[in-house]
């Protein structure tokens, strides 16, 4: 085997890498470093009094029952969003991949929700499910089903899960569709000739061959549910009622921006950063082994 071409000197590669390094440094390492530094301080909102308190903020956050509640909410929320968004997208992708009339139109329409901003998406759902002004909300109440997500925590959670998952279905759909189209037709035809029914073909051929896509999407969806759903929650429930839909990222916002408790908020975001790094590492290390490429 021939050795690859080796560039002489270190300057050129460094210069070529510089833009990327600069972006990573400015937009990731710098703010992350600032968050770590703030998490070790206790200061007033105006930054006039500042104390170095070591890990005290972390100890307080971890001992705080409302933080643990938010962690539980986040687990329920992220898992539900990922499962719902992935399964719905897979179902839709499999259907749209079939030779049906107007499949191009379906595909286009299914991709649209991805272009909707989270806050707008939330408002759309609000217009559907608001107990006073929402179409479905009013219908539910008229049918004697007590629907009020502003007081019922379970209903509130359900609503933010559905709204967040709906936003993510389009993204997953594109990837699943691409994954489906890259499966060789010959394999499927051979299976058909052997007498395998569609369901069996799906579970024994399509699903395993889709696993790299699914694995990638699982990671992306969990990260989405952890971080990008702030807008949906903020517009729909503001973390309420009684903190029922307060996820970790939302709590970071509430404590930092609303309550001006910067140390606690920074400590929480550092913990969140560690959780997500760990989660991604675990996914790549353990789950990836089971994936057929």
């Amino acid at each position: 085997m021939r050795k690859g071409i080796i560039f002489k000197g270190k300057l050129l590669p460094l210069i070529l890498m510089l833009p990327q390094l600069a972006i990573t440094g400015i937009f990731f390492f710098w703010p992350a470093g600032q968050a770590i530094w703030s998490s070790l301080l206790r200061e007033d909102a105006f930054g006039l009094n500042r104390d170095f308190v070591g890990l005290e903020n972390f100890a307080e956050v971890l001992a705080d029952p409302t933080w643990r509640e938010a962690a539980q909410n986040t687990a329920v929320f992220a898992l539900s969003v990922a499962v719902l968004a992935l399964s719905a997208a897979l179902l839709l992708a499999v259907q749209a991949d079939k030779a049906i009339r107007g499949s191009g139109l379906y595909k286009t329409l299914l991709i649209w929700p991805y272009a909707v901003a989270p806050a707008i998406a939330a408002v759309l759902w609000l217009f559907l499910f608001h107990p006073q002004i929402g179409l479905i909300g009013r219908a539910l109440n008229a049918a004697q089903i007590a629907w009020d997500y502003r007081l019922n925590g379970g209903q509130a959670m359900l609503l933010v899960i559905i709204a967040s998952a709906w936003k993510q279905v389009s993204y997953n759909f594109i990837f699943f569709l691409a994954g489906l189209q890259s499966i060789p037709r010959a394999v499927l035809e051979a299976a058909s000739i052997d007498g395998a029914r569609p369901v069996r073909r799906f579970w024994t051929i399509i699903f395993p061959l889709l696993s790299p896509t699914s694995f990638f999407l699982l990671t992306v969806n969990l990260v989405y549910a952890f971080f990008d759903t702030f807008g949906v929650i903020h517009a729909l429930t503001q973390g309420g009622p009684a903190k029922a839909t307060e996820t970790l990222i939302y709590k970071v916002y509430v404590d930092g921006v609303e309550n001006l408790n910067l140390g606690a908020s920074a400590a929480q975001s550092v913990i969140l950063m560690i959780i997500v790094i760990a989660m991604t590492a675990v996914q790549f290390r353990f789950i990836e082994r089971k994936v057929h490429y």
């Binding site: 206790r42 001006l260 408790n261």
Partner: protein, 451 residues
Amino acid sequence: MLRRTLARSAAALTTAALVANRRAVAQGAPVELQFWHGLTQPLGGMLEQIAADFNNSQQRYRINATYRGGYAETMVAAIAAFRASNAPNIVQMFEVGTATMMAATRATKPVWELLQQTGVNINFDDVLPGIRGYYSLPDGRMASMPFNSSTAVAFYNKDMFRKGGLDPEAFPKTWQAVAEAARKLKAAGIAAPMTTSWPTWLMVEQFSAIHDIPLASKGNGFGGLDAELTINNPLMVRHMQNLIDWHKEGLFRYGGRDNAADGLLPSGECAFTFASSGTRARILKEAKFEWGTAMLPYYDDAPNAPLNSIIGGASLWAMNKGPGAGRSEAEWKGVAEFFAWLAKPEVAAKWHTDTGYLPLTRSGYEQVKATGFYKQNVGADVPIEQMLRGGGVLTENSRGIRLGGFPEIRNIIQEEMERAFQGQQDARTLLENATRRGNVVLRNFERANRA
């Protein structure tokens, strides 16, 4: 070539700017003052009009009034700007941010000091006591400039009162009578007779003031940062338990936090609501029925009830530029002159009648009364009369609230109320939890702001 052109034009621009600047200084160009506010339209436009009138009235100062999002966003924006040494000269701060601003002594200049330093005179003696008390130091010196103050009142649907066989001209005075009225309305087929906006402000803060019971020790926090919540008291427990029971019975509808319930009365869903007096404009616009305004109810077996209600709304704070950056004398003077403009009787009266916010002074109220305004706008004087209820003499409990981190405490109480309405806890647990969690906020604030 391109580079040279760029460099040359940059140089030209700099020179032009310098020249312009020098010329401006020579001609005595107005001192630019930034004023950040948190009022949406149409109120924000009216506020900006006041600033424009001030600018037109003189040449020396120019107030740039800009909208920075709601109250909470404006507060956060001003604080962030201060940390970046770019704070506005004046910021509008909601009443619950008062303690936070006051504790940041290096970030703000109290109004009394501002006036003393600049030699501008504003007479605060005549300001409505409830407004004055809220924004002054324990010794009576003003900390911030009162601007848009509201209070809370009851609004009710007279048509529904008729339907329920109640007197449409007499809203029940006591909570006992309120419950009875709600039962009658319920029997007449109104699914959710009663609701409230701003659950904490109405049912805890106003309630405590009206009944002359302390919300926190140290005179509701006026006496120092080491105050503790005292909301876990028998009368408060009784009232919360009533609300929880009424909610269960279907008499009371929890309409959400802050002003989320504002729409329930005008839409015809609820027969009466307790809300900010500023909701009047919305009800005027949206309600398609006959409605009335009334004072907040009370328990008549409480010894000192009813006292005056307390205010909401916002005041104006004069801010320093940043932790290490000061302001020129001219800037402070301009801020003081603008505050004096706001306190002028005709400006204050116009603001009051245009917006429905409380008049600033008692004499201003009398003047407006003399014009017959309240005869044409029935009910517009109820909030003012309620502010003067109990003789207009404030007690330690009806003066206002001065607690650090109070926006957070408000949310904590709302959360615990939500838990109770969900059936997870009773009134005693609600108030115990709220007190415990609220005190943590107070201790954190005390620690972060120790001198």
